[in-house]
Symmetry: C2
Subunit: 461 residues, 2 copies
Amino acid sequence: MKKFFLVFLIAIFTLSINAQDSQKAKYVFLFIGDGMGLVHINATEAYRAALKDKIGIDKLNFTKFPNLAVATTYAADRYITDSAAAGTALATGNKTAVETISMDYTRTKKLKSIAQMAKEKGMKVGIITTVNMNDATPAVFYAHQPERSMLKEIAQELLTSNFDFFGGGGLKGIKNTSEFLTKGGYKYIDTKKGFKSVSSKDQKVYVSCPIRDESEACRYSIDQTSDDITLSDITKKGIEVLDNSNGFFMMVEGGKIDWAAHVNDAGAVIKDVEAFDKAITEAVSFYNKHPKETLIIVTADHETGGFTLGYAEMKYNSAFKKLKNQKISLAVMDKKIDEYKKTHTADQAKLEDLLPFIKKNFGLGLKGLELNEWEIKSLENSLKIEMMNKDSKANYGKVSEPLSSTISIILDQKAGLAWTTFSHTGVPVMVFAKGQGSELFKSYIDNTDIPKNIMQIAGLK
Amino acid sequence: MKKFFLVFLIAIFTLSINAQDSQKAKYVFLFIGDGMGLVHINATEAYRAALKDKIGIDKLNFTKFPNLAVATTYAADRYITDSAAAGTALATGNKTAVETISMDYTRTKKLKSIAQMAKEKGMKVGIITTVNMNDATPAVFYAHQPERSMLKEIAQELLTSNFDFFGGGGLKGIKNTSEFLTKGGYKYIDTKKGFKSVSSKDQKVYVSCPIRDESEACRYSIDQTSDDITLSDITKKGIEVLDNSNGFFMMVEGGKIDWAAHVNDAGAVIKDVEAFDKAITEAVSFYNKHPKETLIIVTADHETGGFTLGYAEMKYNSAFKKLKNQKISLAVMDKKIDEYKKTHTADQAKLEDLLPFIKKNFGLGLKGLELNEWEIKSLENSLKIEMMNKDSKANYGKVSEPLSSTISIILDQKAGLAWTTFSHTGVPVMVFAKGQGSELFKSYIDNTDIPKNIMQIAGLK
């Protein structure tokens, strides 16, 4: 009888453990829209509605998620954070100093990321980004360095991460990415044809956008053609490679949302938010097949630009549809200006030379987008400053060209949108959650609570 | 036997009804921070932490609530709403045209408010605001008018509302408020002594702030002394009057948050958000006594000002503590300027005359708040414009005085805060919820969903 009772107790115990386990998320997606504040999301939705001549919003897929939290983003040493400190918070659940890659604020202690915890647990891991793979946001998931600028050291840690899938941008500061990765044990692919052939049979694979800029980032969505691979393509491929019976953790960064916001380029922001949303629908498709085992989180590391749906001179009016006239990113406009600078002296430079290009690609001068005297003067002045400046692009994808900035600011303001800074802000960010355990995401939380919840839901740590 | 079965059925039916009823919220608080965006909240919290020399936030009480949603605010006819259309959405669950007080967008059909539904159900109703009681936000709960400017018609509807408690601002556009209300069957009190004597024995009572401005609004919290009554005082008194066994509905508006944001006065915004939070603690105290029967919602009708925690020239830096130097609202600064204009001609006017007052009350010129050449020039120029303008204050509490605006903008920017407009914006607002049924408030919703949820939770309609 005593023995029977013991067996009974063990049985109950086992059952309760199994019951707990069956409630854990086996497949975890963490989507980070870099710099994507509430306004970046809402402006995209308002623009989509405006295209249909509707007042209101045309919802993105991730904003339909059933659960939502709002998270503060401040770093240990500065209220306005950067992608390194905010990424460390999202990857490890710890506040740290700005510029720091998954180390504590004294920069002496390494902090384990949820991606590394997942790997240790036997799950597969994938890291995807539209910018360079050794940029801060992807780096915090596999590297530990006191400075985000230590690009080579970060890339070296990628090799030893043993993660299963890397996709998107290349490695900045590495002379021969292909050789570096191949020697390090990764299969490297950066052609569209090669991309298509990657399959679930591949292990330790690194797929790169076939077209990348000088920073090794993929192109802005607004500039992409059928020659590019999209964030959605990469996410779908990543799921294919990672899907296995032990589960997986996947981080997907919409990194160019931040870069577009740094130059106050609303048109490019909107297209990259839409591309980010499309990538999320790949995760939702996977969720639909495994609803009880999948968790999807969509958040941001910080807000960039102090972006707002209202501009003083427009008062209570908006005209979001005007952004439809923008055909290219400011990065492409910059290239045009660089060419012009090579063939013209400061004395020769005339705004009229560039106005047809500006009209064609940003709509300025078209009906409803007429340029007033003050705006013409602003453009002329910025061209003058432009011609005095021999340098072209600043680093970090930030446009130094005053003419591009002026074009964008004029167009955005005519659409009823405004910005307060070219930097990040301290504005808290949204957290949208769907799937197993997602009800933990509610109320007004801190960014460090996000990975803590994920650890609990996925049984990590 | 048949008879016994019938009795049994009735008993079961009654039990199930009671079970449903016991899950309904009997006491409903709806707090509306007019113009209070996420940044107005977060800036207040960041400022409070900065006062303690901490980087981060010192949480307000309502941001600790367990449930949260984010709500879009657009009107039927304009993306950027106003307090009339947004208020109608919050009070009735219907989108309408801007300027409209609880009527549909054709302005022909009256829309019943949740306050009126509560009254019909036998609950007591209280309406509280820091601005005039016939302003749009309070009006939408008791009146139905095609234009928010129809102040007399709105006030007339207040008399026939039969609501139990009105508190805060006076009635704008009514010659003798006391006579108007007394004849209309309301006990009217506008002294501090009288206020203290109001008790649960009073029925149909209207208490007004003893000190009100030309718009019949209570003073900004930053300007209040012990001669004033606070929003918290009024809320506490309202609970005392309304508390009864049939339950109550109470709407409390922090109206001056919007007015301060319209003039981009961060110092006044913060003090009014704190006063609003303090009023909410009165509801939380009541909740603690009736946790299963009380629902508290804290939201906003729209964002005002395009307020952001980051300013271009400050780049990644913030210095929130500098706002501590602000001692008065811009409304009081305006009065000082008006006095100056009466005693000086345009030729006589010198910035130096006003600088000591500006230094004393906004800190400009103190260590850490030194004025640079460009800032001095801005102040001088705005004084010049000031002196050409014979008019003083614009209506709607909006400062027309360019000098006040310039002072505020300089101080806010030095603190690392920025604004994009003097109008409302289309930025979605927060919804914090606590108590019975509050778990319905989650995800990304529309402002019309808020009263729909309340109707369901409180069993209205």
